[in-house]
Amino acid sequence: MSRLASAFARAKAQNRAAFIGYICAGDPDFDTSLAVGRTLLNAGVDILELGVPFSDPLADGLTNQLAAQRALESGMNAAKVFELVRRLRAEFPAAPIVFYTYYNLVFANGVDAYIRAAHEAGVNGMLTLDLPPEESGEVQAAAKKHGLDTVFIVAPTTPDARIATIAAATTGFIYYVSREGVTGVRADSAANIPSAVARIRARTQLPVAVGFGISTRAQVAQVAADADGVVVGSALVNCIRENLGAPATMIARLATVAADLVAGTRR
């Protein structure tokens, strides 16, 4: 069983949804980001989703755009992102780590070489925001060869017929984006999540995680009632942004916030 599958199975056995925490690798710099990743995993985050900072993150809202900008300005590059994964992997041998990235970073120097390097660093899965299944043949082949799971998105606008196509390309989990739009915190909760999750479940056995706009424990609990996993990103990234000058406060705050959100996953 892959690390991702184990994480979902373990959460299910504990009668809760898996908690997927997103941060941008290297935000605001390498060392702080390492401490942030460590804090999240210690706080009970089941799957760490690492955003690979890209110059043109067109699926991301302002919070994550600024996070990527901070990371790039601090000197993050492909080699350092892999190094960050290696360091986390050394401390947390069993923790599932998933890349959240844009295709040009995977494509630029050869898809196979990139996925191999990611696997060797300790990455377990990859979601490529601007890569639909139709264009993902090379990524699927390399992921299979190197033992990396693929993650693809289903959106509210995805017709039923496409869900099967998406599921066929996916080995890790289906990421349901709960609303049309970019990433970011929203006060209201997306409607129709139970029916959307049911719509996907009717077409695949894969775990279904729900994300985009989920930022409070109440929202987590609401989504966890139906989904196999809950993704929270901007709420965590905001803890980083709000405490940029004070790393100790940042880490303490993240530990509290993450533990609270994780507690929301219990059914």
Binding site: F54, S55, D56, P57, L58, A59, G61, Q65, Q69, L72, N77, A78, Y103, N104, L105, V106, F107, A108, N109, L129, D130, L131, P132, E134, E135, F152, I153, V154, A155, P156, T157, T158, P159, R162, I166, V177, E180, G181, V182
Partner: protein
């Protein structure tokens, strides 16, 4: 060396998934996939619908002012002392550039699709102005995204857009030019996809945009072919057009792709010269990558981060090039050159003085190459340069640059 004749049927591309050989395709977040396939389907029906085509022809003639003249540039021809230079006068179109061809057509298509809200990106502002005009004409809500840096250097166009009822939203991210405006337009589209049509302004992005925008500009080459046959009794030896995304260029070139004796040259922005961050000549300093919806030549660093670009012309200041251009370059059918800012500023003044025509800085890139080529060719040769836009929008910026230099 003359370029190779192409035996490929130009209508066979792109394939159903938007590929021009190894270029193009669809690379967008899942939320947009259905909108893109609905758009492709709606366009497929519209392109074959005589009513849509007749309506479009009507507005192109009566609202935009087609056909545009093919004008013999006597002053520039004499100055070069070689080949005859003709200018395809897209600068005479309503709103000042070829962009209106596509903006009108896509606005009509949006109406057909029942989308009442339009978004667009703009660099130099010409596409934004064209879209604002089309939306005013058809009563559509219009939001234009524009880099804050471009808003400053193209302030006149910002005012024109607002005057026609468009909301212009400044984009402060990154280097605040066209690329960031497209990112922001795509974020808007992802958020409002059910009600909104994105009028992309160049032959770029995900399928069906590169094909559709090309088709809407084919009229440029169709007219030019008829006009040059009427004037000279033969086809031109060379076609020259500037290439940002590449819409005016593919519009002029497409009709001639299967004419083996017509050479075609696209001209990119050489900026301050071909060093990292100082230019936007993708074929001179770029390599294959994926950005903003398609696979093509990009200016990028070793990791695949998109590089900064520079050009005196906002409309060419972009890190990627249309996939169809990348394809025909690979086949040797379309050649590429670049013009530097300094060359452009000189010819901007020269054309104004010798022809009484103030060209857009974008189009001036094509004129720079046109003059170079004309000098090398005999007097029996004929060149058509696409004068894709007028330079009224640029005079304030050029005045500032020239004042700083003197």
């Amino acid at each position: 060396m003359p370029s190779k004749p192409d035996t490929l049927d130009r209508f066979s591309l792109p394939d159903a998934a938007g590929h021009f050989g190894g270029y193009g395709g669809v690379f967008v977040p899942e939320t947009l996939m259905t909108a893109l396939s609905e758009l492709a389907a709606a366009y497929e029906v519209a392109r074959k619908d005589p009513k849509f085509q007749a309506e479009l022809r009507h507005y192109l003639k009566e609202f935009a002012g087609r056909p545009t003249e093919l004008y013999f540039a006597e002053g520039l021809t004499k100055h070069a002392g070689g080949a005859k230079i003709y200018l395809k006068r897209e600068d005479l179109l309503h709103t000042g550039a070829h962009k209106i061809n596509n903006a009108l057509a896509q606005a009509l298509l949006a109406k057909r699709m029942g989308k009442k809200r339009i978004i667009a990106e703009t660099g130099a502002g010409q596409h934004g102005v064209a879209t604002a005009a089309a939306c005013a004409k058809f009563g559509l809500e219009c939001v234009v995204y524009m880099g804050a840096h471009d808003m400053a250097r193209q302030a006149l166009n910002v005012f024109r857009m607002r005057l026609m009822g468009a909301e212009v939203r400044g984009v402060e991210a990154g280097q605040k030019t066209l690329k960031e405006a497209i990112n922001e337009a795509m974020r808007d589209w992802v958020t409002n996809v059910r009600t909104t049509h994105y009028i992309l302004g160049t032959a770029y992005g995900s399928h069906p945009y590169p094909m559709m925008v090309r088709d809407f500009h084919r009229v440029i080459g169709q007219e030019a072919k008829e006009q040059i046959l009427a004037r000279e009794g033969r086809l031109p030896d060379e076609l020259i057009a500037c290439v940002g995304g590449g819409s005016n260029a593919i519009g002029l070139f497409f009709e001639f792709l299967e004419e083996p004796n017509v050479r075609m040259i696209g001209v990119e922005a050489g900026g301050r010269g071909i060093t990292q961050g100082a230019h936007a000549a993708r074929f001179a300093g770029g390599r294959l990558g994926v950005l903003q919806g398609c696979k093509t030549f990009l200016l990028q660093n070793a990791d695949g981060q998109i590089e900064l670009t520079h050009s005196v012309s906002a409309g060419l200041d972009y890190a990627a090039v249309g996939p169809e251009h990348a394809f025909y370059r690979e086949r040797g059918r379309i050649e590429f050159a670049y013009a530097t800012d300094d060359e452009v500023l000189e010819v901007f003044q020269l054309c104004s003085r010798l022809e009484g025509i103030i060209p857009a800085l974008e189009s001036t890139h094509a004129l720079v190459e046109g003059l170079k080529r004309a000098k090398q060719l005999g007097k029996d040769k004929v060149i058509i340069v696409n004068l894709s836009g007028r330079g009224d929008k640029d005079v304030e910026q050029v005045a500032k640059i020239l004042a700083a230099k003197s």
